[in-house]
Symmetry: C5
Subunit: 383 residues, 5 copies
Amino acid sequence: MANHKKRTHRGKPRIRRRQAPGARPGTISIEPGALPTTIRVMAYDQQRVVEKEITSPGELQEFLGKWPVLWVDVVGLGTEEKLRAIAQMFQIHALAIEDIVHAHQRAKVEAYDENLYVVLRIPDPTREQLCEQFSMVLGKNYLVTFQERPGDSFDLVRSGLRHSKEGAARQGVKPDYLAYRLLDAAVDAYFPMVESVSDHLDTLDDPSTADDMHAAFRELHTVRRELLLLRRAIWPLRDMINELRSDLTPFMTDSTRMYLRDCHDHCVQLIDLLESYRDIAGDVRDYFLSTISNRMNEVMKTLTVIATIFLPITFIAGVYGMNFNSEVSILNMPELNWKYGYLFSWGLMVAVTVLLLWYFQWRGWLRGTFRDESADEGPPESG
Amino acid sequence: MANHKKRTHRGKPRIRRRQAPGARPGTISIEPGALPTTIRVMAYDQQRVVEKEITSPGELQEFLGKWPVLWVDVVGLGTEEKLRAIAQMFQIHALAIEDIVHAHQRAKVEAYDENLYVVLRIPDPTREQLCEQFSMVLGKNYLVTFQERPGDSFDLVRSGLRHSKEGAARQGVKPDYLAYRLLDAAVDAYFPMVESVSDHLDTLDDPSTADDMHAAFRELHTVRRELLLLRRAIWPLRDMINELRSDLTPFMTDSTRMYLRDCHDHCVQLIDLLESYRDIAGDVRDYFLSTISNRMNEVMKTLTVIATIFLPITFIAGVYGMNFNSEVSILNMPELNWKYGYLFSWGLMVAVTVLLLWYFQWRGWLRGTFRDESADEGPPESG
Amino acid sequence: MANHKKRTHRGKPRIRRRQAPGARPGTISIEPGALPTTIRVMAYDQQRVVEKEITSPGELQEFLGKWPVLWVDVVGLGTEEKLRAIAQMFQIHALAIEDIVHAHQRAKVEAYDENLYVVLRIPDPTREQLCEQFSMVLGKNYLVTFQERPGDSFDLVRSGLRHSKEGAARQGVKPDYLAYRLLDAAVDAYFPMVESVSDHLDTLDDPSTADDMHAAFRELHTVRRELLLLRRAIWPLRDMINELRSDLTPFMTDSTRMYLRDCHDHCVQLIDLLESYRDIAGDVRDYFLSTISNRMNEVMKTLTVIATIFLPITFIAGVYGMNFNSEVSILNMPELNWKYGYLFSWGLMVAVTVLLLWYFQWRGWLRGTFRDESADEGPPESG
Amino acid sequence: MANHKKRTHRGKPRIRRRQAPGARPGTISIEPGALPTTIRVMAYDQQRVVEKEITSPGELQEFLGKWPVLWVDVVGLGTEEKLRAIAQMFQIHALAIEDIVHAHQRAKVEAYDENLYVVLRIPDPTREQLCEQFSMVLGKNYLVTFQERPGDSFDLVRSGLRHSKEGAARQGVKPDYLAYRLLDAAVDAYFPMVESVSDHLDTLDDPSTADDMHAAFRELHTVRRELLLLRRAIWPLRDMINELRSDLTPFMTDSTRMYLRDCHDHCVQLIDLLESYRDIAGDVRDYFLSTISNRMNEVMKTLTVIATIFLPITFIAGVYGMNFNSEVSILNMPELNWKYGYLFSWGLMVAVTVLLLWYFQWRGWLRGTFRDESADEGPPESG
Amino acid sequence: MANHKKRTHRGKPRIRRRQAPGARPGTISIEPGALPTTIRVMAYDQQRVVEKEITSPGELQEFLGKWPVLWVDVVGLGTEEKLRAIAQMFQIHALAIEDIVHAHQRAKVEAYDENLYVVLRIPDPTREQLCEQFSMVLGKNYLVTFQERPGDSFDLVRSGLRHSKEGAARQGVKPDYLAYRLLDAAVDAYFPMVESVSDHLDTLDDPSTADDMHAAFRELHTVRRELLLLRRAIWPLRDMINELRSDLTPFMTDSTRMYLRDCHDHCVQLIDLLESYRDIAGDVRDYFLSTISNRMNEVMKTLTVIATIFLPITFIAGVYGMNFNSEVSILNMPELNWKYGYLFSWGLMVAVTVLLLWYFQWRGWLRGTFRDESADEGPPESG
């Protein structure tokens, strides 16, 4: 459970302050805490793959237009001049570049004359947040991607491009196929994340954690928040992919559209799982609440049984502890002077106890009360 | 109830790890625990039916194209080379074969140039899981089906093909009619399953189980999970059948489409039932919660009645157990020396008791308290 | 309330086992418990009405095609050969006849070449079940109706046909108008049923039943189930009527379609009422739960007030019941030898009591506690 | 709050028994309790306005067709022959007249060849019921309106017609504009009604009523019912107005359609408000439930604190009240003969009390317990 | 939290009384409390910007038609004659001007022949209410805006117009671009407001406030109301912008429509956030309720443990406090005269205590009871 705890602060939908209301649309305003921008380039055709880490956007000029596919991989949204230079070089629209640096967008597609702007949330590999923003600008012969933090789920795509020339060559001389591959990798990266939330949810159903209901409820609260955030990330993703599939811009080829159908299916599957877990989380909550009520019931029954037995017999003892003067009158507490008075009082007390126990038995209150509660909490299999 | 318990671990929506995010689409990666693949062939025309268990996919060549309907029945998704050979022979698309081996798909139809790919979840006859995945690849003169585990609900279809030639002949010389028959059998196989969940739900409404609320709640929790899983399997099924009906591929003939309407109706009926049971399960939960509250109420009333009677009279007994020295002053506990002091104290205690009982009677707290609780729990008919 | 109880077992959505999964579509399999089939015929034109109870389907030949409207009224679905003969005579499609004998269909319309198949659920006049299935096969000059049990809501339609020739004549020489009349009668027959559920719900809001919360909750549980079943019957009815109105088959004339709009409106009204009662039932449940909580609160307050007063003063009495030897030391319980010791102890106890009562008054716990609870339960008017 | 109470019995969705199922459609069957029918006529053109109370429908002949706008205002649905005469005179369709007298319709529009039938629910000005039914039959040069009870929200419309000829003249020479004016007045009349429910809801949030939770809950129950009824009246109203706007019958002119857009907006605003109040009512319920729980918690804490302090010290007092014979053995209750025995016992009891108080302080149970509860109930502002 | 409290009275959906039902449509009726009207004018073309505070609407004549863009900024809806003069000058439709002065409209667009009427709710900068109404009338070369109170979020727009001529010049010579800028500023102004509600919600999840559950619940109640009001303001906003984008009136140019897409996205983001916070508020409520239940459980367990230990041993002490006369018979309380009688009694009491503690340990009731509760309340990280 340790690893769940350290993720908890991630469960908060973020809004950081946008630029001031009324500001000119299309202004680039770097967010506080954004990492400095680094740029990596990967260019390939049927035969060759070239990779380069570049420091000044000007170096991109030597690639642009010279390769069938140019992938500019921008990481960190903190260096304004670099972003501005890239935006200018690839003719990225002012509104698109504004969205790229404000890292709180819903997944969406926007078609401009020069290129296609796609933004989505991908699982954050650093696990600092649940998700980070990933933007793609898809042009005729280039793909520019922007992400907030280094580290991603795209290493397999990169190594695929590097090593298996023929694989990349099949449809890979088009940047839209590369965009699909990244999208597919991003969607698939959600599966382990959903799985981990699901495992977390399963531990809550387990008897060993159940004995501290309060902590269990707190955990459940966390799980529900994470499910909520994942839903918020994945629902618009589905609509976005749908739009990509039906979109008629020249930047997306028909063969890639067919692959997007597969990607769409995975999205629907994720949503399906999330909805199921949401329902299950609701059920677990009901189960917890009923468990709390049942325990309270047990506690109260125990108290009632004990109090109801001992109050009457303590009363009897109290009566024979009274100090009425039997010398004044034979009527004053004659029992005290009976030969079997003490035995009589015990008999009375035992009789009352037996009667009450029989009553409780009849009402069924003794059944649950003297049973091992921890066994009671077990899963149905062991019960 | 025993048979319900052993099914409980089935109630978990599964996600097994897909291939790594970013992997090439269309790769076949065998799932851990998949059974070795066995292949059975059934080929028939108007006059004859041939059946054969084959060990190497190469043997399929002697059937392919020679019969109007060839049914290749693949069971077990564990032998990669066999699956690969079949995929190649029947020109199954890379994305389709990927979905076939990843046994966690939602029901869907995908039309390819060479054939129609249909995937759905069918009730698992081995009862190990609630459902298993069933894939069909429907071509012009063949139907290839894939399932995870041996044993299915299709025996009646097979025997129908074998014995009643004329029945099979009516429309059976087309593989799409065979596909419909399998689909219909799969949908119908859900009815006994839903019925069993419904019976389970009914036992929970029964008085005999009601005396252990906690266990009953646990059972209800299980039923709700099973309903959830069944919904997850059947909802997409309906959409899939709808798509099949409206689809315009050449692999589905008009006469079969009319039969699919019937199949669609059964699906809608199943969904209808599941939604009803979901609502009923919600009602049963409310009923349980109110029962718990009512019982707590009864327990508390009993405690209150007993404590409220015995605390005052024990106090009275306590007073006359004080040791004030009546020799010092006539004011000190004169009652102790009264002739009828003891009787007076009893009178006092009886009066207090009667007064309190009258008060409880007036508040209506005695009504429910001394009644047989088990009768109280009975169903409305016996109440 | 007695008449509600005996209806309770009706509140269960039924699924009886269909034929085995994989069976040939269109097979007639009689359900266990189906009543033997009886057939009544009513044939009329502008001038004449002929009625006949027939024993063999062969007798239908003398009517078929000879009258503008022939109504074949089949009651009981238990005699296979009769049903088969009728199906053949009126060219009823195999899938339609399968649905007719499996009495668990949702309301639907199916258009075949020879006739129109309509199935719906109607209130069961025998009150054994909430609803029974009613099927109509509407042809060019005949209407065949099938129902499970004798007795129905169509007597007024029949007498209308018999006696007021001119009324029947107005549009009644077409079987589609007859079908509309039966449909309308079926829909209208739901109104008293919904009204009875509504009355049942109203009694639960009544103070006189409220004093047994558990029974009231059980009743509410029953009402909710009945509402659920009625919804399940009526929602698809609306869609079915809608489809009938917009359908373009030759079996439904335009003038009848206009009357169907009225029928549709009644359906919408029924649904509206059912949804309202559902909401009200939810509110009543909340109200009950809050009442239970409030009562628990009252009980607990009473206990707390009594215990909190008597525990301290019993303690005081206990102190002066201690046997410290005052002869050993003047420090040992000097109060016992005070002249006003006993009075002092009483003063102490009275002071504690007054103090505590004042505290409870300040906290407002005495307000509700000593009030008549049954008045408290009354409806707002009397409160 | 007094005026809310007397309205409570209005909160019930009514169904009165319709005519028997199976009856001929279009039959007029007067409802029990319907008031006798009175008829008022208002006819106007650009210059003149004529008003007349008429006793026999025959008198309408002198107006019909002679004025550009004839408004026949029928109040009370109890005199069958009058209604029948009017229906005949204005060619009202049999189904429309049936709906007019069955005063339980949802708002709807029905276009017939001769006229347009509009029915809706309007606030009942007599406040006997929440709503009453209002029907309009709009023809080329007449408008016939039907309502259940005298008194309505149309006086302003009437006086506008009478006095400001020019106002009426602007578009008023068409009956459809008059129909719009009545519709608009009816919709606007819902605003004060919704406002009164909203005020009622606000008083429940108030601290002064909060001290009787049970009554408050009962009030809330009433408010929720009223909101439910208002929703039932207003939702179909919106759809009806929408249909009127888009309808293509000749009885509604384009200029009036534009005004209907305004009327539609008011309807949407009403629905918006009702939905908000519904949500708020749900929140208030949650708030109440939590308040009840919190109070129970306080009560239980008080009981626990008191009992936990006094049970142990009463036990100590009980110990030193035992009568072991110290003369038999020095081991028997030596404390009784100690010089400081009594003080020692007090010390013990004080020590136990202090220890327990410290424990309760540490657990935070004393914080809420000895605070003024009524201040606790105040609204956030005063807290 | 102080600043939240003073905002609380804002959380009420307002309906002020509209004009009387039945009044002529299009009448201007000033609302009580409306501020006196002030008018500011801003007119600009490519080169110049002119600003003027005007006192009489007549002064507008010198601007009208002489500038490509004329912005008339009307603040305060209290001076009827000024509003009437403006309405006449800009040909504002009677229904539009009625809506402008009734400050309770949902966001909507209405196209008239002469201009486009847009109304929406904007955050109230004075914070007196959550929102105020903002209306725009967009013509070919003018934009008239109306708001209730002075002070708004448009200062940045104004200064942009004044200082950066070139910025304003880009598309700013059209009034529709100005209208977009105001709309965008209004939408963006909701972000800090939503953020503040979100912060409020976060403080409720904090352990330090959790120790007064009742206050926390009250705060939550307030947050939910504010979320509700914000939803009510923002949902129709989205539809309105959508309508603006798709609208075909000549007053909105294509280039501006593209910017509106951005504005629409922000709206969707706001709605997304609001829905998330709603879900979270629901979760927090569940968490609170479970916390209350858990605490009650703890309290009850403590009471039960203490009572169950002390009741039996007090009974034992009571028994040996009885006064049976051991001189009468050797059977009467022989223990009192045993040598080790007192020790025996203590042994008995200690044994009972140990036994009960062992029982409670076995049932797990001691685990939670003697732990620090405030630590228990902490967030998962610190737990």
